[in-house]
Amino acid sequence: MAATMDAEHASPGATPLVEMDGIRLAFGGVHAVDGVSLTLHAGEVLGLLGHNGAGKSTLIKILSGAYRMDSGTIRINGEAVKIESPRDSRRYNIETIYQTLALADNLDATANLFLGRELVTPLGLMNDAKMEAETRKIMARLNPNFKRLSEPVSALSGGQRQSVAIARAVYFNAKILIMDEPTAALGVHETQMVAELIEELKKQGLGIILISHDTREMMELCDRVAVMKNGQLVGTERVEDVTEDDILSMIILGKNPRAAV
């Protein structure tokens, strides 16, 4: 199955998984996202780079339904869609790991993983046993050391909390995965595990949008990188066409050196 997906996205004429076109959103006077266009293909990792406040989180929150854009269009598999709430985005199999993780600290890992999508018994009551078993399964895959399934997540370490958020995004068979600084709270070993996970999901044909400040990591993991500054898109490049320095100068100067040629 992965092979057919690969073939699909490899062909240049294939319909992109996601097309965002002319997206704008202002908070009061702040133009957080100012006319940004991006495409994402199946089986592709698209990196999103830029300084703090560049508008990266705002852009992906529009795709995940957390914010409503002022103007612009979003197409999924070529079809124009309205994403007005997190529920809408879930319907299009978009899963998001938010920068803030968006965990309810007073609930345990299981409750957080299934939040909004609880498994219920035929009587309509929550099937806690089933949910806990499923959580154990996925956590065993993502973070084998993680055993504290029924403690409030406020008691967990930053890395453990992050793996709960990652598990939540991965468990529900996403087709489009958005990861906003997923490795920010992680150590070297855990970061490596996330990198492996991204590779694996990519092979399965997911389209992934990855936000990170680690340019080197991005050059390794991504197929293409997009750079934002002050709410605008500086440029999008295939990683094999640019150097790390090119990317850095795009981030800092807000100009695409290749476009200037």
């Binding site: 957390a66 997190p86 968006a102 309810a104 609930l107 409750a111 909004g116 609880e118």
Partner: protein, 433 residues
């Protein structure tokens, strides 16, 4: 705490491992401990008058009205809101129900006083009114983003005076005879039915404990040792049977018995006695407690209430409609105010304008003493009921000892603040929020 991280085999301390094996909420134990100490102290000071079947019976029925509302207040506070209008809402529901059963149904609709359907219709009307008002307040909070403090502060003034307006300030009574059975002493199950309830409840409690264990085992989860589970089941069953035994031990006074027999045209047999048993109002409270606990723990609604209280943004991002949730929480609170109004007005045998005055403070205090955190996300139904019981015991005990009214209130107010202080310290120590 470091001991939670310690491997299972490491130097077990006897006390800690006992609590650990039982997996009992230590906070609950602390509250029960405080309650027991309180009762014992009052019992000593009153020369044994505090812990008599009669006083325990009275304490129980006095607690019901506030306890019912306190269970709803848990949901309200857990979602980071507050409801200051519950006492007034109770009065509004009480007024509407009183008018329904003494005027609307018997006179306007011509059913006549004492018609067997009157009590039921009156309660349904009260529930509809309470739920509607609660939902309306929830709408103002959830959809129009007016702070709950303001909405319900307004409600505090509005609903009591709506009641006043409707009843033209008159006390309405006597209420329907069947309706008044919800008030406490006028409606008890008698000893036989109470024993039956005790048996059913004890069996149910034991069944729930062991069914949960079986389900855990079926999914390969760790379970408590069998002895711990057995001990817990024994304590639960013992508490239920013991409580009923006490209520059954409170005998109906001989004068009252004589009147009952006279009404039947009979002579009272020599040496005849009869226990009151479980009041209907307490049965109502138990049913509500079970229902609210199931909602809190086992339904999506409950999960969303706690998630929203813990992190409203996360709840929103998980696709939870937090606005509608707010409406539901306040609607539940309104329905519980109506049920409280049934118990409270039935106990007084009439509706009066000042019914439920200051109940908002008692209800909030009960929930907070019971461990509901005002910062949201944390609270239990049983805690709130225990909180209501502690408050009522304190009040009744002091009255019994002969403490002056102003001093009583000073003590109750101080205890509330102290309880919250202890709670904050406890949560800091255990690392909870």
């Amino acid at each position: 705490m470091t001991d939670t991280a310690a491997p299972a085999g490491a130097t077990p301390k006897a006390k800690k491992s006992l609590f650990k094996a039982l997996e009992i909420d230590t906070r609950l134990l602390g509250m029960i401990g405080a309650f027991v100490v309180l009762c014992l102290v009052f019992n000593v000071v009153t020369d044994g008058r505090f812990l008599t079947p009669r006083n325990i019976f009275n304490l129980t029925i006095q607690t019901v009205s506030v306890a019912i509302m306190a269970t709803g207040m848990v949901f309200v506070i857990v979602t980071r809101n507050i409801d200051l209008s519950v006492g007034s809402l109770l009065a509004a529901c009480s007024a509407v129900m009183a008018m329904t059963q003494t005027w609307l149904l018997p006179d306007v609709l011509g059913l006549g006083l004492g018609h067997p359907i009157i009590w039921l219709v009156a309660i349904v009307v009260g529930l509809v009114v309470g739920t509607a008002i609660g939902a309306f307040q929830g709408f103002l909070v959830g959809y129009l983003s007016i702070p709950a403090f303001i909405v319900t502060l307004g409600g505090l003034l509005v609903w009591r005076n709506v009641a006043w307006y409707l009843t033209a300030g008159q006390t309405i009574g006597p209420l329907d005879a069947t309706f008044m059975k919800f008030g406490g002493i006028n409606g008890t199950l008698g000893t036989d039915a109470s024993w039956a309830v005790a048996a059913v409840a004890a069996v149910a409690a034991v069944a729930v404990i062991f069914m949960a264990r079986r389900s855990k085992l079926a999914h390969g989860f760790p379970v408590k040792p069998l002895w711990a589970e057995g001990l817990l089941a024994l304590v639960a069953a013992g508490a239920i049977v013991g409580f009923i035994a006490i209520l059954n031990a409170y005998d109906v006074p001989i004068g009252r018995l004589r009147r009952i027999f006279e009404a039947r045209g009979q002579e009272i047999p020599e040496g005849f006695s009869m226990g009151y048993g479980l009041p209907v109002s307490v049965l109502v409270l138990i049913a509500i407690a079970v229902a609210m606990t199931v909602i809190a723990r086992r339904t999506r609604l409950g999960r969303y209430i706690f998630a929203t209280g813990g992190n409203p943004d996360a709840a929103e991002l998980s696709g939870i409609n937090t606005r509608l949730l707010t409406v539901k929480v306040f609607a539940i609170m309104g329905a519980l105010c109506a049920l409280s109004a049934v118990v409270a007005s039935a106990r007084l045998a009439n509706h009066s304008n000042d019914i439920g005055t200051l109940d908002e403070l008692r209800v909030i205090a009960a929930a907070v003493i019971g461990g509901t955190a005002l910062s949201g996300g944390i609270g239990t139904i049983y805690g709130a009921i225990l909180g209501a019981l502690i408050m009522q015991s304190l009040q009744s005990g002091m009255a019994m000892v002969g403490v002056d009214a102003p001093l009583q209130n000073i003590v109750v107010g101080s205890v509330l603040v102290l309880a919250v202080l202890i709670d904050i310290q406890y949560r800091k120590r255990t690392g909870g929020k």
